[in-house]
């Protein structure tokens, strides 16, 4: 081991401790964020407790009553809806890029999809407000409403005035943002399938689609799942893409055309306006809930991805 002999040099000792310190900054940040958020939200934790805060729909700065449920509900609904819309497209893109596309198109289309991931979220948000939202309110939402009118449950989901500033529009924007993340991880997982295994399936007479469905997909299952959970973690914390078109309405939405609030949107809109201590503490409490939620989700995703990597890239 070179490190042992090198440790004798004082400059080396200094340099190595400097690098060590820098890398421990990561741990410091995570512990620091957790500690500060808990400390700052203590007044709210003491006043509202944990379960009462998480399951209360109250959000009334005037009466100083705060609960997280409307925000958590909005976060979960937009996240789930956007994943539902993003996953099929992302998997399709991954299949296209690994199996269908001619070789000369793989590079350009792959890059184009990844550029979609590089666009800042505020651009998605603004585009959503000025371009997508009018399209949703004038074309897509009335169409969906007419389509589902009279159908018991679906009709209810699409009831209300289609304003374009609602859960559905936010989820569509969020799904466009999630597509490239999910697609690039799925593509990388698909690429891990050894060519020999695919070729043996072809040799048995399988069609291209059967190879994808029965060989590539099962092989990449773990990685794809990890990618989906990773997108879920990202969606939970996305702020600017939804801040423009969600409406920041603290009520449990009953229709996809209702304005709603997510944890991130509430923070973005109200953090600088919070004038009472308990209000600010409740917002910190919300941030804490979001941090814990997304940290756990991301850790689970990472676990799956690591496992997939270990299993297949031997």
């Amino acid at each position: 081991m070179p490190a042992q002999t090198a440790k004798k040099d004082p400059v080396d000792l200094l340099f190595s401790s400097l690098t060590g310190l820098a890398s421990f900054a990561i741990i410091l940040f995570i512990i620091g964020i957790l500690w500060v958020l808990i400390y700052e939200s203590l007044p709210a934790i003491q006043r509202f407790g944990i379960f009462h805060f998480l399951f209360s729909t109250a959000w009334d700065p005037v009466k100083e009553q705060f609960g997280a449920l409307t925000n958590i509900f909005g976060t979960l609904i937009t996240t789930l809806l956007s994943l539902l819309m993003a996953i099929p497209v992302a998997l399709g893109i991954a299949i296209f890029l690994t199996e269908v596309s001619p070789n000369f198109l793989k590079g350009p289309i792959g890059t184009a999809i990844e550029l979609l991931a590089a666009i800042p979220s505020i651009i998605y948000g603004m585009w959503g407000l000025f371009t997508l939202s009018p399209i949703m309110s004038k074309v897509v939402e009335p169409f969906l409403q007419n389509l589902t009118r009279g159908i018991p449950l679906l009709g209810l989901l699409f009831s209300g005035t289609p304003l374009g500033v609602d859960l559905l529009t936010s989820s569509v924007i969020l799904s466009i943002m999630l597509i490239p993340f999910t697609a690039s991880i799925a593509r990388d997982s698909f690429n891990l399938t050894p060519a020999v295994v695919k070729e043996s399936a072809y040799a048995l007479g399988a069609t291209q689609w059967e190879v994808v469905r029965d060989v590539v997909m099962p092989y990449a299952k773990l990685g794809v799942f990890g990618g989906i959970v990773l997108s879920l973690g990202r969606a939970l914390g996305e702020t600017m893409a939804v801040a423009f078109v969600l409406g920041n309405n603290h009520r449990i939405p009953t229709s996809l055309f209702d304005a709603a609030a997510t944890i991130t949107v509430t923070l973005a809109n109200e953090f600088t306006e919070a004038d009472q201590n308990i209000y600010l503490a409740s917002l910190f409490y919300l941030a804490l809930v979001l941090f814990v939620m997304s940290f756990i989700t991301l850790a689970v995703a990472k676990l799956f991805l690591l496992r997939a990597e270990r299993r297949y890239s031997k």
Partner: protein, 280 residues
């Protein structure tokens, strides 16, 4: 025979659906970029960069304050984030190579990369804004640096690991201490890779809005004082787009255009460098 036609038929359907999916992805890209390009270009003028904002509702004016603020904040963030990121990555790839702690920090920084940036904003608010008593540019820069560090750290680690061990051993054999091996041999071997990481991390933070909302806040006047509230392009875009005035919207589009293409340029440059250096 019927079974075979059916298999071929379902295969054709599935694969055309996947092509359709790829087209959908491309459609969104073209739609969004085209819109930003069209709306941005039609609102773009020199005033945007060289004029300060005028009172709301009055025509004219620009976002010079936001451009300067954005540059100062991003630049300061880079000054903090890049050394820490590179040193941290060095520790993981060199001194702690193969050790448990290296794996743990790697995983944690991968998680940190995706932690909601607005949470980092609230954290910095509690740590740097409230004690100072006012919003300030430093706080914004530190918030961006915290987002930047894990990105730079992970790329540095990966790029250093690509440098062959035999190269280090050759330097050790000449009697060089480890720090000299790292700074003079390993860093040189990985320089382009690290540069790419830096470019991509700048691209990553240049479009961040959420962590600036309650750290550097906003300022309608020109200010180069990092100790006071500072305008940034992204926060200005948010404010202007949500505002009621048409010329605000136009300026928001123009600013979005500039920021989007700056970021895409960095991203493409980063990808080209990787391709040129590691795949040819």
């Amino acid at each position: 025979m019927i079974l075979e036609t059916r298999r071929k038929f379902s295969g054709a359907i599935a694969l055309s659906l996947s092509t359709l999916a790829a087209l959908t992805g491309l459609f969104w890209l073209v739609f969004i970029l085209g819109d930003v390009l069209y709306q941005g270009l039609s609102a773009l003028s020199l005033d945007l960069v060289f004029q300060d904002p005028v009172p709301a509702g009055v025509a004219g004016g620009g976002l010079r304050n936001a451009f300067v603020g954005q540059m100062l904040i991003t630049f300061t963030a880079t000054l903090i984030g890049i050394p820490v990121g590179i040193l941290g990555g060095t520790f993981l790839a060199e001194y702690a190579h193969g050790k448990m702690i290296s794996r743990i920090i790697s995983v944690l920084s991968d998680i940190m990369v995706s932690v909601p940036s607005i949470v980092i904003g609230t954290f910095i608010y509690a740590v740097l804004v409230r004690p100072a008593g006012h919003f300030n540019g430093w706080a914004g820069a530190v918030a961006l640096a915290i987002i930047m560090i894990p990105v730079v750290l992970r790329t540095t680690e990966n790029m250093l690991l690509l440098v062959p061990w035999t190269l280090r051993e050759a330097a050790f054999a000449l009697g060089a201490p480890y720090y000299k091996v790292i700074t003079q041999v390993v860093y040189r071997g990985a320089a382009t890779g690290i540069l790419t990481g830096i470019l991509l991390s700048i691209a990553r933070v240049a479009g961040e809005t959420a962590p600036l909302l309650f750290t550097s806040f906003n300022n309608s006047f020109f200010s180069s004082d990092m100790n006071g509230p500072m305008a940034s392009l992204t926060v200005s875009i948010f404010q202007y787009a949500m505002g009621p005035y048409d010329n605000w919207h136009a300026q928001a589009w123009a600013a979005s255009f500039l920021i989007t293409f700056f970021i895409l340029l960095l991203t493409i440059a980063g990808r080209l460098i990787i391709k040129w250096r590691y795949h040819s």
